[in-house]
């Protein structure tokens, strides 16, 4: 009731004012100064406010905290925590000291994990998208099945993987050891050095459908005539993929690879559900590492400093990536 009343009023206000519709209707409310160019800014205001509230303010708080000695003693009122200047940053980057060393270690682990996971996801996604282009019986069902990992809640899928990776009772060892006799002993997947591979496998399984989806959409935009013409000229399938498909997909790939990189680098859910808050040394991803520094050892200042460093790194990667890819596109256009 209350919602409809003002609307009725508004509709009645038009004819009452006796002025023509359109620009004239705004005149009584919007001051002249705004009318001359301020209106777009006024319309942007809600978005700017929300952006401030959701992203900028928490980020500023995060940066502020990174300059404070915020430990459990100050959690209830973080503003009273003492200022420590750049101390938290110094501790985080001293790579010959244990904390810096551990951070650097997890940085390398994360980088290795991200490159592998994104690379494999992209490869599988591309292959699947190309294969799915051809019409065949059951293609719709196959496409739907391919998207299942993407549609399921992350927690559910990862927890299922933890069951499958159990050393004693897991499906993975049952297949590798009991059925195929590929391993001499039942391997550990959730602790020790294999944990890194467990992480990569789950991550790829989770991310490739997104690559598949994006690339499939990209493939729809390539005119069929190109392939027909190439076939007429005697180009084989492989040549068609190299000369037509991949170059045409470049714009999609540019966005796809960047997004996958950022998501994978920052992934928290997969390692957390797979290993809990204490990840094995070999699979100590930076997101979990920072979480541990902040929330488990209750040292929020240090954790924030690490987060800011991570943010700077990702900004740098994104900037370089965009610069390189846009230059390439410029070259291609020219």
């Amino acid at each position: 009731m209350t919602a409809t009343a003002p609307l009725e009023n508004a509709s009645e206000a038009g004819p009452d004012s006796g002025k023509p519709a359109g620009r004239g209707r705004l005149r009584p409310r919007i001051p002249a100064r705004l009318r001359q160019g301020g209106l777009p800014y006024l319309l942007l205001l809600p978005a700017v406010l929300l952006e401030l509230l959701i992203h900028i303010v928490p980020m500023v708080f995060g940066i502020l905290i990174s300059f404070k000695g915020l430990t459990l003693f100050y959690i209830r009122n973080w503003s009273t925590a003492p200022w420590t200047g750049f101390d938290n940053y110094k501790i985080a980057v001293k790579i010959h000291q244990p904390i810096g060393q551990a951070l650097l270690h997890s940085f390398w682990v994360t980088l290795e994990f991200t490159v592998l996971s994104v690379g494999l996801s992209w490869l599988i996604g591309t292959a699947a998208a190309i294969l799915m282009q051809e019409g065949f019986r059951g293609r719709a069902v196959m496409r739907a099945v391919f998207l299942v990992p993407y549609a399921l809640p992350v927690y559910a899928t990862v927890i299922t993987w933890t069951f499958m990776f159990q050393q004693n009772t897991g499906l993975v060892n049952h297949v590798l050891h009991d059925q195929l006799h590929l391993t001499s002993d039942k391997s550990f997947w959730l602790i020790g050095s294999n944990s890194f591979w467990a992480l990569v496998i789950v991550s790829v399984w989770k991310s490739w459908p997104f690559a598949f989806l994006a690339l499939m959409a990209g493939l729809q935009n390539i005119p069929r005539e190109l392939y027909e013409a190439a076939a007429m000229d005697g180009a084989g399938v492989w040549q068609q993929i190299r000369k037509i498909t991949l170059p045409s997909l470049r714009p999609v790939n540019q966005v796809l690879v960047l997004v996958l990189f950022l998501w994978t680098f920052n992934d928290f859910n997969t390692p957390y559900v797979l290993f809990g808050s204490a990840a094995p040394h070999q699979a100590d991803l930076i997101s979990i590492h920072i979480y541990q520094s902040s929330f488990i050892t209750w040292n929020f200042g240090e954790g924030s400093a690490m987060s800011v460093l991570l943010l700077l790194f990702l900004l740098l990667v994104t900037a370089v990536y965009l610069l390189v890819t846009s230059r390439k596109r410029g070259d291609a256009d020219a």
Binding site: P98, G276, N299
Partner: protein, 439 residues
């Protein structure tokens, strides 16, 4: 038209006002704290997971909360939280001030949470309100906050570690339950055959790891923090303690797979005859749920380095248990204290502890026949004679996580055949110590 608009605006404001009032429901009449009636107040209670599942806890606690409501007119909204989430939830509640009124905490976290200042201190007035401090066992009170300060919580359920052994397997092998570690190792080796192992441990469970590391270091006369609260993880005795524990897997007395256990699989292995021994706190209910009856196993104190050791060398368990605390920011302090009084009353203590298979920290309840089973009598005697509280220092919760994780990694090394040496243990503990924030 104008009146229409005014009417609409008024209605909107009124509606918003009503919503706001509904959100703050009940807060207006009870902000005075201790005086006045608490009838109609609703408390929020975060209970830790004590039973076989979160649902089981709800079944156990709901009738008791109803009973409390009938007695006092105070409603209690129950939320049972698993151990993996509890500390984080408390932390979030502390930061935001949006917490429950009453909550359970692991007693080893008492000093850490006390340091945040989020919990209501139990000074003499608050203790009087719940029936007095001397109703509780001294060892349980010692694990409720830093020495020299008013406790930050009150003991609710007490537990201690004992060595559980499979009677039939011991009898078949002609063995007696061990009293020293040498005996235990010899027994475990003898009992390990094929898929059956002498002992089972919970290698990926950080809290378990530090409980054993604590006792094994204590038996060597060492602590994990010095008197000023600084960590001393890398002392020779601490390194030796961790190595002794990890060696169960390294030597094959425990199964390699134990390195991965963190969901009480140890109890399953023990109850299904895959392991002859385990060190555990109050496991009767869980063992029973896996089909092993009470007469099939025995409980003795955890071994010591030499037989009949006393003092620190004779410590066989940490003082385990769960405390109940009141959030300082509660608007219903007097109702919250009434609830704590109810939960720690003798009848409730008897009922709840016997249901959960734990020991009542309220001395008056301890003589109840429910706690006179052979295993609980052993555990009660351990608690009163040979248990010591974990270090009650602010950094305790970090100690649990950093050292717990270090031991987990060492177990992984042992399981994958990498040798675990004094040097590698020391390096792992050095790393853990470096992660401890300065306090």
């Amino acid at each position: 038209m104008r009146t229409n608009r005014v009417f609409a605006a008024t209605a909107l404001v009124a509606a918003l006002g009503l919503t706001a009032a509904a959100c703050g429901g009940g807060s207006s009449d009870d902000s005075s704290g201790t005086s006045g009636s608490d009838k109609g107040v609703t408390l929020t209670y975060w209970a830790s997971n004590q039973g076989t599942s979160l649902g089981n806890d709800k079944q156990v606690l709901t009738p008791e909360l109803k009973k409390f409501e009938q007695q006092t007119g105070i409603k209690v909204k129950l939320e049972v939280i698993g151990w993996a989430d509890l500390l984080n939830r408390i932390l979030a509640a502390t930061t935001s001030g949006q917490g429950p009124d009453v909550l359970n905490i692991g007693n080893t976290w008492s000093a850490s949470l006390q340091a945040t200042g989020a919990l209501l201190p139990f000074d003499s007035a608050n203790f009087t309100a719940i029936g007095g401090k001397d109703r509780f066992a001294a060892s349980a009170i010692a694990a409720s906050g830093a020495a020299g300060q008013d406790p930050a919580a009150v003991p609710l359920y007490s537990e201690s570690y004992g060595l559980y052994y499979n009677k039939k397997m011991f009898a078949d092998a002609g063995l007696q339950p061990p009293t020293t570690w040498d005996e235990l190792n010899a027994d475990a080796k003898k009992l390990t055959k094929g898929d059956v192992h002498g002992i089972a441990v919970e290698g990926s469970n950080g809290a378990e790891n530090i409980h054993h590391a604590f006792v094994l270091a204590k038996q060597r006369g060492a602590d994990w923090f010095d008197s000023s609260g600084k960590p001393t993880f890398t002392g020779d005795a601490n390194v030796a303690a961790v190595k002794q524990y990890v060696d169960f897997v390294a030597s094959g007395e425990a199964a390699k797979g134990d390195a991965e256990y963190d969901q009480n699989q140890t109890i399953t292995d023990f109850a299904t005859g895959k392991a002859a021994m385990m060190m555990w706190q109050s496991a009767a209910a869980s063992i029973k749920s896996h089909g092993m009856s009470q007469d099939q196993y025995g409980v003795v104190p955890v071994p010591t380095q030499t037989a009949g050791a006393t003092g620190d060398a004779g410590v066989t368990s940490m003082v385990a248990g769960i405390n109940i605390a009141v959030f300082k920011s509660t608007k219903h302090q007097s109702a919250a204290l009434k609830f704590v009084k109810f939960m720690t009353s003798t009848p409730e203590q008897k009922l709840l502890n016997s249901t959960y298979g734990t020991l009542p920290p309220v001395t008056e309840a301890q003589s109840d026949p429910a706690f006179q089973t052979p295993d609980l009598k052993t555990l009660a005697s351990v608690l009163s004679k040979s248990a010591a509280p974990l270090p009650q220092v602010p950094n305790e919760s970090q100690f649990e996580t950093t050292v717990g994780a270090a031991v987990k990694d060492l177990f992984a090394d042992a399981a994958s055949g990498k040798s675990v040496t004094t040097a590698s243990v020391k390096a792992a503990l050095e790393k853990a110590q470096s992660q401890m924030p300065a306090s």
